[in-house]
Symmetry: C2
Subunit: 219 residues, 2 copies
DNA sequence: CAAATTTGTTAGAATGATCTAACTTATTAC
DNA sequence: GTAATAAGTTAGATCATTCTAACAAATTTG
């Protein structure tokens, strides 16, 4: 059984391996805020337990076993976030820290019960998909708002970043998942985007914000 | 801040210090299932952080700071058990292990929210008192069923042991908190007690069981 | 392509939590 | 009140996780 520390490494590898499924030691160290030698030695030990494939000077790759383990931790994290929001009245900006801790609880029934009580949700409060209990995660292909064209109408469906600060920014603009946005214009100079949505006839969103907002194009 | 391990030592000291407030190293080691040298060295380090008072060859005593910290951990444990039973549909025999893990979560709002949702409960599912958010615990003076006399009518109000096995035994006899028991007789030979209660006109309880059942005498 | 930079590795040390073996102090029993 | 037993301590080792310093490999840049 993986320790909490090992679980955090697996989760980081899972979240950092987009596409190739390969993760550099430096990215891993960065993501976990540990030194490179620390990440390096931990990766070696994860390899001994068959969680990852690793060769000197090569990027790290999760084994299928490692992928599944990681996905199940992500599942616990996201189910927890959903539970905190839907069943305990927390705001979406408050749940990340707690979920980071609860995801390491070993108690299958506890999470199964959450899942049932929530009606087997497939996305978390930030629109991220929840892997199923086999560790399979459904792929969504959302578009970042930053690449939308004027006159498009889109629905806000997920976020690529769920930091407290970003979520508080969205709260301040009354932007929540599901909102329909009309793209008014796009500023070539700084890539900022002007949108309109209920009660907000004109809101300017910086590139930094708009590339973190994932939308479904409606028309 | 105390580590999870330190928290477990504080909790053990709290639970083991009845009356004098003094705990032997061997009892502590036993309670935590670690060796005596381990308990000894941990106690020394707890002393450095002012959680306990300790002198060579003397029993360990929690400082006021240590007592409060321990009580707050017990609070988190018992609130969690209550939440699992009342809000998530778990049986009272299933909650201990999970609560042992969740009690180490650092998230005041999470436990405050549980407390609110439960209507500020004062006892947990096993009848044990829940310390308040200042770490103060109300004292109850319950009588063990083992010291009751024939013909007394009593109400089952708490347990001195909450092991899964014991709770499953109680389930099998349909014994739950609140049940009214009439003491029929007591066997001088083995100290077993015969009681009657709704749907159970005659049930024999061994001394081992009856001394773990805490009751309030009704008449 | 050689120099500079970034990335990755090894070595060695520190900390927290644990153990066993050996020894000492305290308590209990006769 | 000594001898036996129990309780407590010290010393020394191990394991997981982390670090810094120093070095090596790979990549980028002029």
């Amino acid at each position: 059984m993986a320790s909490s520390t090992e679980e955090n490494y697996l989760k980081a590898l899972y979240n950092l391996s987009n596409g190739q499924g390969e993760v550099n030691i430096s990215d891993l160290a960065n993501g976990l805020k540990v030194s490179m030698p620390t990440a390096n030695s931990m990766v070696k030990s994860l390899q001994k337990s068959d969680w990852v494939i690793y060769e000197k000077y090569k990027p790290v790759i999760l084994t299928p076993k490692g992928q599944k383990e990681a996905a199940l931790i992500v599942r616990k994290h996201r189910l927890t976030e959903m539970f905190l929001v839907k069943k305990m009245g927390f705001g979406w900006e408050e749940v990340h820290e707690v979920a980071e801790q609860i995801e390491h609880i070993h108690a299958p029934k506890f999470f199964e019960r959450m899942d049932e009580m929530l009606g087997h949700p497939t996305i978390d409060p930030h629109g991220s998909p929840i892997p199923d209990n086999q560790g399979r995660m459904q792929e969504f292909s959302y578009t970042p708002l930053s690449s939308c064209k004027p006159n498009q109408t889109v629905q806000l469906t997920a976020l690529t970043n769920s930091s407290t600060e970003f979520l508080e920014f969205l709260n301040s603009r009354k932007l929540s998942l599901g909102v329909h946005l009309k793209v008014i214009s796009r500023e070539a100079y700084d890539q900022s985007i002007v949108v309109s949505y209920p009660d907000h006839p004109m809101e300017t969103l910086s590139e930094k914000v708009s590339e973190r907002l994932l939308v479904r194009v409606l028309e």
